[in-house]
Symmetry: D3
Subunit: 242 residues, 6 copies
């Protein structure tokens, strides 16, 4: 199975991410990564998403043309996923949608622990659109910008543990979802930190959830409904080569 992961940001570390995805999938599938030439260096609000999405769509189309079996967009806000589904036949999955559905299966209510409060309305709205608002205990944030997440991982994990415990104790969370794919790789440390504090709670790494979800969609020969995501009506489009 060929999976293309699109990083919806301008990044120099494409090889790093590609390696990360390969490790997650334990080398079982052919995974390639793409990132943007045009757009922000990270996604932390609706504005960042808006500027990233056109090239995300272009990269998604490229993936299908190159014979990929599925596309993952590597950002918790799932930017461009709906638009890409309209132009593609192959499944497109975002980490936000994949991880909260899995969280809803694993426990009564989940909390999302994310980077900044800027993304709260965006994520909260997504939970409503995905239909899972009644399973959402809370959205919390550690107040660290995306690009600082990898500067001192132990410290970040500790911040995530602290907010997760507040989510459990104050908001009634039974499952924790890491609310930014920049936190990838930290789920284990957060889980261990929580267990050490007496909380044996699942912690979901969203990019892992998205990769696993597309994997089984491909295995089940399922893709999104063309009733929800019909091909865009034919029309003139200026200024884009898509």
């Amino acid at each position: 199975m060929k999976i293309r992961v699109i990083l919806p940001a301008v990044t120099k570390n494409l090889a790093y991410f590609e390696n990360l995805y390969l490790n997650i999938m334990e080398g079982q599938h052919e995974i390639s990564a793409a990132s943007l030439k045009k757009g922000p260096v990270s996604i932390e609000c609706e504005y960042d998403e808006a500027l990233a999405i056109p090239e995300v769509i272009a990269k998604a189309r490229e993936a299908e043309r190159e014979g990929c079996d599925a596309v993952v967009v590597d950002c918790f806000g799932d930017p461009g996923v709906k638009a890409a589904r309209e132009i593609l036949k192959i499944p497109v999955v975002g980490p936000g949608e994949a991880s909260i559905h899995i969280a809803a299966i694993l426990g009564h209510r989940f909390s999302i622990v994310t980077v900044l409060d800027n993304v709260f309305p965006l994520i909260d709205n997504n939970c409503r659109v995905y239909g899972l608002e009644s399973k959402l205990a809370s959205i919390r944030f550690i107040n660290v910008p995306v690009l600082n997440l990898h500067k001192g991982e132990a410290g970040i994990a500790e911040l995530l543990v602290e907010e997760s415990i507040k989510a459990i104790e104050e908001d009634g969370a039974h499952v924790i979802v890491l609310g930014c794919t920049g936190m990838s790789g930290l789920a284990k440390a957060v889980r261990t930190g929580l267990v050490g504090r007496g909380y044996s709670i699942p912690v979901i790494d969203p990019i892992v959830a998205a990769l696993k979800m597309v994997q089984i969609l491909v295995e089940m020969k399922l893709t999104h409904s063309k009733r929800t995501y019909p091909y865009p009506p034919e029309k003139e489009i200026f200024g884009y080569e898509i």
Copy 2:
């Protein structure tokens, strides 16, 4: 009061639209229109929206820089409204949000009659995000693309009347919202058609609703909450001059 209306599409008829807005506001305010150089010629799905939004945002910023008091985005799907609110202080309103809130005030349930079934999920999701899903009776469509709306207005009005009557009789609508700003100017004919068929029901023209809503926001000195729409975090953005 200076209002800038952004047509989120590439169009040759900017003067036509500017004139339309001036008529709606009866010359009381200074209204100017802007349209896109880059993007689709009409908006009929998530994909079209995604390609229009970056320039919508740029035009919104331009409006604020030029001293406008408010911005309206002239499309029922409200493309770019949330992103523009993040970068602006002045109020930004879309016709979808404005018209369904007014519809909710006028009656127990409303139906939206729009162009194509392509936009159904997008509009339905917006109604959820705006919090009004319990007031939405149905979304119906006349199966006419946006750019064909002005070819034979009488016929279009008749189609809208037919779908509105189905919305009233089958779905329990008490108010009709025209679900595309390309239907602007038809509300009166639809209302008359409905009255002629025995249905005295309000019919809301969404672009009128949006213009009137920003007018009173400006008069009340209100704008969107910076808690919901904080300024985007500072970061490098490639390929855009915004």
Copy 3:
């Protein structure tokens, strides 16, 4: 445009209120006020509402007969608005409904800060009936009766600021709605107080919201749906001269 504002209480200060409304509308429209001969001196519960409503309805009918274009009922609980809509063709709007719809447009969630906890169930039920319960962060109160609101306005504003900050910090409010029209004129002071404490949040004055909402309904030639508010069936009514 002729707007009649009905104060649903027995009051000696009619001139004061009429002046207030004229100031709000900046003299642009012909505004007249009416108050009750029969009923309570303020509205703070379902019981007070019940005793005020019959004369509110009579005053609303009088307004239409006298050629008014719209009616506003000046109380946050919107007493008599639905009944008045049944007997009138011209739009009738209450400050509660108008202000929370505008609040929902301005931010992700709003809180209502009102006078006494007596009105909590009434306002909470109204929010459900208006369809906006998912946008309501909380209802808070300052524990000051309506008629004491104008005794020492600075103190009242400070109490409102305190409760608003709790609404923001503890309940996640992004917009503040003043939950009593007796607080009219305080929105600016509350807003300033909040900004001074670091919270740049919209604060909505409900009577202003209602006046502006009827203004644009009249301008748009819209009124409530007669499907939701049909004329009452003909019947004998004893003891009322309505």
Copy 4:
């Protein structure tokens, strides 16, 4: 146990109704009826309710003063129930609230079959306020005014059977609630009619439900919460002797 039933209308048939209540309770309790001197002859909309409620409240207070153990308001819209609870200690129950809670216990979804479409928004809003909107399959009406219900009962029962079958087949109703207390005594005929057509479905008579509900509240020594229904704040009230 002494129960006072308040007919929220001006009626000449008080003895008839009193007898009806006694029969329902099989003579086990002391039941007395009261009706209005001031107000409409029947309740079919918000306007009718508004004009009836002040005297309903007065009659409720009278009941408590005369040592009654509970009050029932005999109208499906439950007019004045909330206001009366504020001024009384003894339980006050309406047929609408009592019957839909019992309906929710008896089956997955219920439909309400009522008199006129005028009452649809009022009843639908009540279902939301009572928290049972997700159990409501539909509200249907037979298009017969309240005062005509007793002209030809067989015909009315047949109309109710017809609408009930539509509710079952088209709306998924599993339980039928008669949506007007003027239909009292018809539940058995409707039930028999449905069984004869192959539908073995519970049919709830709302005034019976209300009487039985207050009976058990009194037996359980329970009354409404004074947290929801606190006594009205002390204040001057003009024109009422309550």
Copy 5:
């Protein structure tokens, strides 16, 4: 009227419980109790329920065969109620469902105070299934296992008062529902304790609510809908003598 109460647990104290029920009903009805030979000694989770339900069903069938008019299952989680309704014609009611519907009538929001946090998801899910999630303020627990409830009742009542006050102050409860039928008999003490602390709030004893609810269902000649609870399709069943 003959009512059979099924204790869904293995217990030696059947006579104690039978006496309790007779006292609740003040000797007015013929009440008999049944308990299990097979199953757990108390119900505190889904697992306990699962092991109790088969014999609950058998006992329910036995009750109908022996001419009972109604069945009550004496456990707040209502184990086996839905399955028993499928095989019986006579009404079957559980204390959870009965008490929260009564609570919803008595106040704006209710809290359930129960034994252990183990039962939180089970009770919360039941509230959703019964349609009353919007009336539920919170579920709290005193951290005492069911079988310890009768060891030192004063202490238990005090714990219940403490959690009830937290429910009122922190969660907005207006009514308290005791969330375990093992707390039977404590409602009065909890109510008194709350009044002594300044909270005049209804406290509902769930087994009383269930007994009273079946009593009036039988008096009203109502039973559950066979549309919701059709008889199980005929089929071979191994290993059960039901």
Copy 6:
């Protein structure tokens, strides 16, 4: 990975089912099946579930003891899944929960097409408990008992296609979920039938969804939250050897 699938019914065809599961997983995992000695021969209502669940739980415990990595319960109603999660550490998944979450990812709304209307309330309640009621377009049935599903598969597929088309056209379904695991193997035929009629819609086979969901849970080292599913409190249990 070792997966144990528990058929919650007494069946002679265990080998058939085991083979089915192996084919679904393409031989990649070690899959074994278990069925019941005690219980019904098929599951078509709450009563059937209740009699099956005790042995489902016993078989689930056995699976964990024998070193399985995960358990699937092969019935769309997910009988015993919650109880089994309480006593197990390894993930337990049911086809109902797994398939509707995947359906919610694939399209705006899904319909479930099942066997008999007996299971409608059970499945509808499950959708609410799983939090996905807003994504559920409808539940439809073909009126064929479970054990007749394999008598003439072509005919069954055609019935499923017919009901699916009604779900699409009348209820707005964008995705079809087969609502009984006895329909396993028919998804392809239903999908083909729908495509042949012009509906290119995903059709989900629920047992495939459950198997794939546990596979990725195991791969992600995730299991259910012990906060939602704590181990049952220690206590005496009579008559079971679990």
